[in-house]
Symmetry: C2
Subunit: 660 residues, 2 copies
């Protein structure tokens, strides 16, 4: 079926069906999305107005974000919303709000790092929004390298307090979400110093502002750090914080794992693995949700490219221009991203699920699964943010010039997706943990203990592995066995190279990034097929198989980095067969399945907030309407007209002067 | 030499030396840069204030841009600046201004498309800024596909006028720079209709606004089209225009090539090639200047990454943390971009130079070189904008988290670089002209007539070409012969594939993009070595050779698309040698040459406008200072404090309500 004849079919409200429930991650998540949608889309405080807030002064945009935060707090308290409802509602507002850290990072640290006694005091305050939380970790001088943090918390046994101090400019806490104007408290990451001895980083709940006046507490110096690139995170106040010997009671060190006693005795944590926890929590969450950011861009681009027509494919015989979605230049960009976005969502949520289950175990003292989970979350964070960040921009560019309009919404989507490649650990830095684990387990011959690197056993085999089918036959490439063979071959070759480099003392900080991507390709490939194999609904299993094949062959034929191709050397006729297979699965997805998948995912116009994807208007009507509503249209700038008229007279005056 | 010990060396003013003059494209261009720098950097109207205008409301930012335009007009008229001074000054303001179209596209069309008589009337008006110009071509419904334009200019023989009309919403002129508020005139691209007969697109000088009042002319409907993605082009008002049977005198059709006589007789152009002209002009200019946009990002990132330290390379033996520039993860990203940026500048300016010379010939009636120039400018536009757009963002991400600060300037750089992949022709669309020309000349056996595709002769040869040296030897890869062999082999394989696809009626609109990039790789490789070979200065020829090798091996080993690797199949030991060679030339550039190149290029802090590259402040000091100056810091948002205090009381009220 050609998509030429498709009518626009963009939902205004959330509609339920088994395929949609599956794509959104199950009934619970689907219902939550519907609840949140219902609440926000009908509340004028959350009215979407494509591009409008990107025309505001930054402080006016933030004011809107602060008032939305207040409204969300009211809704949560009134409706007894669970935390995840609240967090998903922030995501649906489609920017970053000052209240975002409250559960995402503040509360989750209270939960995991406080003693039961501390929790009894602080958790209710945080849940009721009696206090506004933030998490001051990153400093001007150190981000991903948390061991370089300079802020100190020195124990004063005379007063039973810690003195929080920023000794240098580079120790200024920077990029601290919600702390610039909003937060009253921060969980400060600081080096614990007792009697001159440095015990490394610990967490200290520090009051930043007076609860009754919002004035800064004595010794606390805070600035709002200014604009972000791409007009990103407009709704959030991000703080630069310095502490000048700020005193907090000893009880405000988070003491679930390590403790400081009244006399200054330091009791170190029984299990040092706990320190992983905080970043891993957010990374696990990112693994689950990031793919939806890519899907929003892909679905928006789908709706636009199935509307826009351009050129006749056959200049002589075609009466009408062709819908641009039908060109290979669009399909080859959008369809793999759609498949990858869905893979990120379906596999990522399983990683987060496993992490959540682990957290429950950990609270009971069992940390056995942590290493594998840590590896999975690091890989998933790097993989999902790389693909999503770049993919959102690819979707925008595939829409041509109108993608650059602020009204298309793509600019906002990119601004809020691409920062994830650096926050919660720069991808090039944290990605190195994957090859590090690979080397360790290979050396110790313990790869069988970690499911995510079990492919290393292939590396031990002396003889080359033969492909399980004839690679010069295009249909071979749609067999699971061949796909696995290809991904493993490539990975094994890259691991071998990495081992040689490491032994030769070569700096691998660049090449490990591609290796981590290849590792995750394999993990997601396996994860996606596992999900597809478990589908019991006849109604959509074929759609998902078609999509899984596009995912599989996209990562093999058109990988995330050219070096991945170099590690899978294929003969020209094998490559030609792979190319043919990839073209065929793309054509199958594009002709027979994509419309059903987009329809089932059912992203509403409210969620997309793009002039290119409106239910009742064509993109052209919506773009023209956007221009009519511009605050710079018509007479709204007429106070400057006399200046422009006069500017056209300057030449006369200059000529007269020159004659003098 | 390790760069660990380097001190920051960021110039405040333009300094002259032979290498710098060379890198800026010769004495004339260097002097112009210095003149413009001198004028702007000392004029408070053009004070740079990293990130400040990104905090303004859009209309306030535009107002600043309009006032800067007025100031620039005054300077130009007073100093008798040539057009290029004026155009470069707009570039140095670092955003898009309403007055930008005046020479870049408005005047250049008057020059090329008006009769001598028309020019005598209109050129002085445009030069004096008595009228403000714009170029309404793109419509909501059609951009790169200009043949789809719907706006009509219908000749009325009774009144000797044309009626300009926009019959549909999709015929609304959109993305028209400077027309939203500023411009008084537009060169409207419209289909010429005489007695019901459609003669295709022609140009019509149309008055948009009254010169004395700035009011819209009768029948002209204009809106300012709203925000752009990434807060791009803040200084420019971009218009959406509709014409309702707007009458203009017959004399305002641009009639150098085609004419309409008093009685409606249409005289078609002698040479239809003229219609190329307008977009080619801008593309040729883009070829020359785009590389500087990439270099600015690369130099800014260089200054930051040679300052920032992170992690100890050897945890046990190193006392200090390592400068991040010394990690492979940074060098492998920045150094190839530096080399590519310089190649874009040095080769691109030769393409523009050739085009300028051709324009002079064309005015005398000679259009013989046009096809080759057209091919060169299309290739250069696609190539330079792809590499620059993506490269700027790679530089930002290589700087880690602080790259996302608005104060770093990278967001602005990206916003103003990436739009070039769609404007003046979407790269995926216009890039198809390169393979189209290849096929035509291959069929006609006329490839020898076009220097830029002479490599096609290789394709005619029956027997496989042997490499000119042992490819398993790393030093082979630094020989010119091997580099040429590799680039030609790859290209020939891609062209062969393209021919097969075309014969099989496969849609090649996706794959041609990679082919155009590979074609341009070769053109720029040849162009760069030609420039390097012509250097007579002993003082910098070695630096340029080191840089040219990084350029050459970067495009071979780490190409712009994975498919380029697939078309250059190498045996594992050949690939290992290439990899080794690439590592070595990168190390050589990074250790022995990059500092001298950055120093010679001498980009001033004013030109970079980044908190990460200040002469008298470390990046940390500048980021902290930026936060202190934030319009949202301290008490500036204290009017909202009572709202925040009250929000923390909501829980009490809700609890009380619940109890009732």
């Amino acid at each position: 079926m050609s998509t030429d004849s498709q009518v626009r079919n963009i939902p205004k409200t959330v509609k339920e069906g088994p395929f949609g429930v599956f794509l959104w991650g199950g009934q619970e998540k689907f219902d939550r999305r519907r609840d949140v949608f219902q609440e926000l889309s009908t509340n004028p405080m959350f009215a979407k107005d494509t591009g409008a807030h990107t025309s505001l002064a930054r402080k006016d945009a933030w004011t809107k974000g602060a008032l939305q935060s207040r409204e969300l707090i009211t809704i949560k308290l009134r409706k007894n919303w669970p935390h995840r409802h609240f967090m998903d509602a922030i995501r649906m507002t489609d920017w970053f709000l000052p209240v975002q850290p409250q559960f995402r990072i503040f509360m989750s640290n209270l939960e995991r790092q406080m003693t039961d006694e501390q929790k009894r005091i602080w958790i209710p305050k945080a849940e009721n929004f009696e206090i506004f939380g933030s998490y001051p970790q990153t400093e001007l001088g150190h981000g991903s390298n948390v061991s370089g943090i300079e802020t100190t918390a020195t124990f004063d046994p005379l007063t039973d307090e810690f003195l929080i101090n920023s000794p240098t400019i580079s120790s200024t806490k920077y990029w601290i979400g919600g702390s610039g104007i909003w937060a009253t408290h921060g969980i400060v990451v600081a080096r614990l110093i007792i009697r001159g001895q440095d015990h490394g980083n610990h967490l200290f709940l520090t009051q930043l502002r007076d609860l009754k006046t919002q004035q800064l507490m004595p010794g606390v110096e805070i600035y709002e750090m200014g604009p972000k690139a791409f007009q990103g995170m407009l709704g959030a106040d991000t703080g630069a914080l310095r502490f000048h010997h700020v005193r907090i009671p000893r009880e405000q060190m988070l003491m679930r794992n390590a403790q400081v006693e009244r006399d200054g005795t330091y009791i170190k944590p029984k299990n040092t693995k706990h320190s992983y926890g905080s970043m891993v929590t957010v990374r696990a969450l990112m693994a689950e949700i990031t793919g939806h950011d890519l899907l929003r861009a892909a679905v928006t681009a789908y709706h636009y490219t199935t509307f826009r027509k351009q050129f006749k494919r056959d200049r002589v015989n075609d009466k009408n221009e062709t819908t641009v979605f039908n060109y290979a230049s669009v399909r080859h960009r959008l369809l793999p991203l759609l498949a990858q976005g869905i893979a990120l969502v379906l596999v990522g949520q399983n990683i987060n699920q496993a992490y959540q289950e682990y957290t429950q175990q950990m609270l009971k003292g069992d940390t056995s699964d942590l290493e594998d989970l840590h590896l999975q979350t690091v890989g998933a964070k790097v993989y999902s943010t790389e693909i999503t960040g770049k993919g959102v921009e690819t979707c925008r560019i595939a829409c041509g010039g109108h993608g650059y309009s602020g009204l298309s919404g793509f600019g906002r989507m990119y601004a809020h997706a691409i920062n994830a490649v650096t926050y919660e650990g720069d991808n090039y830095v944290i990605g190195q943990q994957v090859p590090r684990a690979i080397l360790k387990h290979y050396k110790n011959k313990t790869e069988a203990s970690l499911p995510s690197i079990s492919y290393l056993s292939v590396l031990r085999s002396e003889k080359p592995r033969q492909p399980p089918a004839d690679l010069t036959n295009a249909t071979s490439w749609t067999s699971r066995g061949v796909q696995q063979w290809a991904l493993e071959q490539r990975l094994v070759s890259m691991v071998r190279q990495h081992m040689e480099d490491t032994n030769a003392n070569v700096d691998t900080s660049y090449t490990t990034h591609a290796l981590t991507m290849a590792h995750s390709d394999f993990a997601y490939w396996r994860g996606l097929w596992k999900v597809v194999d478990a589908i019991s609904h006849e109604s959509f299993v074929e759609h998902m198989k078609a999509l899984a094949h596009v995912f599989s062959l996209s990562i093999i034929y058109n990988p995330h980095h050219p070096s991945l191709s170099q590690h899978l050397p294929l003969a020209p006729n094998q490559l030609a067969a792979l190319r043919k297979a990839y073209s065929e699965v793309l054509a199958d997805l594009g002709d027979n399945h994509v419309a059903a998948i987009i329809d089932a995912y059912g992203l509403t116009e409210y969620e997309m907030d793009s002039a290119l994807a409106r239910a009742d208007q064509t993109p052209y009507e919506a773009l023209l309407e956007g221009a009519k509503r511009s605050e710079m249209s018509g007479e709204k700038m007429s106070h400057l007209w006399p200046m422009m008229v006069d500017t056209r007279q300057i030449w006369k005056r200059e000529k007269a002067k020159a004659k003098l």
